[in-house]
Homo-oligomer: 232 residues x 2
DNA sequence: AATAAAAAGTGACAAATGCCACTTTTTATT
DNA sequence: AATAAAAAGTGGCATTTGTCACTTTTTATT
């Protein structure tokens, strides 16, 4: 499998990227990013960012779903978050010490833009409003992580799995009908438990008629009941 | 118990606060912060920040230890982090949506500086280097939180309690001899388990001669063994 | 110093979950 | 289409941990 396949050197101006913090950049500033970035395509399963690697790039996910995952004390993988385009991935690592503290892997077909960090950093320093937007975006990340962390430890596994299914439906696919982008083992890594536990709980949901599951296609049938379950 | 006791209206220039991101502010900029901030003292147990409250302040902890804690789904409290002066607390909440998403309570005697958010925000926009430093500090927070989250879910309770004891010794008190600033119940909220589990595991450590515990005074005796334990 | 209140500690038991070993099904490769 | 490899599913058992109900100790208050 080839790792890098540049698509086009510059398409920032028409890019989704323009939406969030970068929306406040003027054309000249955008051009700076353009001239210092590369757009790359990834197949499902491919690694976009490798934990432990040194970096000089800010990565922006323009297309697809990816998992942020970290190898913990004694080699168990844990999924920290599912990222959906269009977002920055790995920003904290780059600003903290230029070493990626977690990996990012494509769950679906993905496209990502690798932006030279020096150019990006200069923009932060020169354009306070841009920096301000970046701070807001980082802040929302932190709050999100805190909530996820509390839910993960306080809810029982059944409740947390229900929550994640609803999260996929409402926030990632905007449909009660979607293709689960995770294997059972990965699902386990996301909720912090074993593959077997995930299988058993999903089976329960299927038996109780709360969801349907054909292959990887999930359909949420009894949404209200699932919401009830997700609250404990 | 009185809640607010202003100490002095302006002492930013001699304040620890000057150290981190604010160290790059010039005197005039510091004065802006000065003129728009209040310094307040807190007794152990007092709430510095209340979850759910609306805010127009950035809070900087100048003295003491405090816990960041969040009430989760169905009213169980969870400690997200122990903050040690000198640090900002609650920055992400203010930038995200002006609503505190977690509480902060004093564990020891604390002092905190409440800085008017508008003045602070203006500084961020005007001084790119200041914004840059703030981004770095937020980034380190995120990375730290990820590591904590992974350790918490992957280690067993015994290992995680060992890790926290070592963390107190190495990073908070810089001594193998310290006064635990948490009740057993709070310790449970920190590791995501029950009071009883904490008591039993600490008892084990005492019986095995790894630590000594007189009242609230903890002494780490067998540090190497504790480190071994903390790795699983 | 006496009393009340809070925190710490204990034992028994049940429930949740991890781990192991194995089978079946699905997917990918030749 | 055949074969290999990966993922999903299953059952049993051991372990961890939470919950409950209670006692003892420590701390705070009058």
């Amino acid at each position: 499998m080839e790792r890098e396949k540049p698509i086009q050197d510059c398409r920032c101006q028409g890019c989704n990227f323009k939406s969030i913090p970068a929306s406040i950049l003027n054309n000249e500033e955008l051009k700076i990013l353009c001239n210092n970035s590369v757009h790359i395509e990834f197949q499902p399963g491919e690694k976009i960012i490798k934990q432990g690697s040194f970096t000089t790039n800010i990565v922006y996910l323009t297309q697809g779903l990816a998992k942020l995952h970290m190898t913990g004390p004694l080699n168990k993988d844990e999924i920290l978050k599912i990222a959906k385009s269009s977002v920055f991935i790995g920003v904290p690592s780059v600003f903290a010490d230029r070493i990626f503290h977690y990996s990012v892997s494509a769950l679906t077909k993905c496209e990502a833009c690798f932006i030279d960090f020096n150019s990006f950093e200069q923009l932060v320093k020169d354009n306070g409003t841009f920096a301000h937007e970046l701070i807001i975006s980082l802040s929302e990340d932190v709050i999100g992580h805190f909530h996820r962390c509390v839910n993960k430890t306080q809810k029982n596994k059944t409740g947390y799995i229900a929550e994640i299914l609803l999260d996929f439906a409402d926030n990632y696919f905007e449909s009660n009908d979607f293709t689960l982008p995770l294997s059972r083992a990965e699902f386990g890594e996301l909720i912090g438990s074993s593959r077997e536990t995930v299988i058993r709980i999903l089976q329960e949901f299927i038996n109780d008629g709360l969801i349907k599951d054909e292959g990887k296609k999930i359909t949420i049938i009894e949404k209200e009941k699932l919401e009830k379950i997700s609250e404990r």
